[in-house]
């Protein structure tokens, strides 16, 4: 490990938030290209499966995190689970915000078909989403936070899978409509 790689390692260790290559370059007073090289060296040292600490790229930057191999012991040491799981409502609101940001609460409610105040409130409280100005109708807009990307291990918002992949296939959609109609006919016939 050369000196720059050592410095980069130390900065990643100290910083509470992920650091971008340009932030690292500024702090170390070198060019970004050199930092990228140093990061490549570090990555060799932190190759998955060999260390207790791994180098991760999340929320638009680099950060160190513990390997899941230590999760059980970490839980015993710190006596708390890392992240409470999301409820279905919270996960849906978060998904809508992640894909459509900035998005207003009425819009979230429209898509889900139910008022979503409490779920949105909890997401705000947990720092997974934050306010992002107001829509032209005056509704508060929401977007996801860096913490969201960190907790979900996303290097950026573009690391989210294409939402079209979640859509029912044309066949499934057709079936959905058919099933509704068929069920109606059967019952109409029986009744």
């Amino acid at each position: 490990m050369n000196e720059l790689a050592r410095i980069v390692e130390a900065l990643l260790f100290l910083s509470p938030e992920p650091l971008s290559a340009s932030e690292l370059a500024d702090a170390a007073e070198v060019g970004e290209g050199e930092v990228v090289e140093a990061l490549a060296r570090l990555r060799e040292h932190y190759a998955d499966g060999f260390r207790g600490v791994v180098l991760r790229e999340v929320a638009g930057g680099f950060t160190l995190a513990t390997d899941p191999v230590a999760e059980r012991a970490a839980r015993r040491l710190l006596a708390r689970p890392r992240t409470p799981p999301l409820t279905q409502a919270q996960a849906e609101c978060l998904a809508i915000t992640a894909y459509l940001q900035p998005v207003s609460r009425p819009e979230i409610a429209r898509i889900r078909g139910v008022a979503s105040e409490s779920a949105v409130g909890t997401l705000l409280e947990r720092g997974l989403i934050e306010e992002a100005g107001r829509s032209r109708f005056g509704a508060i807009l929401y977007r996801t936070t860096d913490l969201f990307q960190k907790l979900f291990g996303l290097s950026g918002l573009d690391a989210l899978p294409d939402p079209a992949g979640f859509d029912p296939s044309p066949e499934e959609a057709g079936e959905l409509r058919e099933r509704l109609l068929r069920a109606g006919e059967q019952r109409a016939g029986a009744g």
Binding site: L64, L94, A98, I111, R112, V114, L151, P163, L176, R187
Partner: protein
Amino acid sequence: MPVASLDLDLEVFQGPFDLLLTLVLREEVDLLEVDLAEVVLAYVAHLEQTGELDLEAATEFLVLIAALLELKSRLMLPGGEGEGLEWEPHEAAEELLARMLEYSRYRRAAEFLHARLATETGFRYRSAPIPRALRRVSLEVAEQAYEPEQLGRAVGDLLRTPPPLDLRHMARPRVTVEQRLQYLRELLRSRGRFAFDEAVEGSDRLTQAITLFALLELYKAGEADWEQRAPFEPITVTARSSEGTA
């Protein structure tokens, strides 16, 4: 129980919920004539009866009923969209289907996030505070960041002797229930009947409130009756004849 088989007994329709849905989609039942509040009540009654809440089913129900409500409100307010967009019933049906499909996209995206969070819980980030030595700017690189006036102003503010607390709004009640009782009894004895507004004319809100309290006492003791035709109408107080001489 799946929402689909929720039994409904409405004015325009008897049968399970999914059949109603189908008939609405096929325009065989006019959504405008369906009392959706009744559908909600039926569902709530069903929940009470079974005593258990199936979250999956409840969500499904809420999504469906919300979609129906929106469709219905659009049907009732044609052109409400502002661009002369009139909703034909079959368009509304397509809209309902489109809405269900859109929702299903995000329901699956939510499943993805769930799974993602589960695989990520093993990674923990360090949350230790920055070492003490790094919590301050080092002297060599420090540059002016604050205005000295801020200090002068802060000290000037601290020199200000705060004004003594104004307790006037906490004035003790100047009248007692006892005094107002006496006053009301006097009015009853001399006039037999009077308007409450007269009794409290010119007095402050506290006295008014205490007078009302005294009036309640008189009523409780059977010494007076009162009458008010409608809220905010004048209150008339009359002596109860049987007790009037007591």
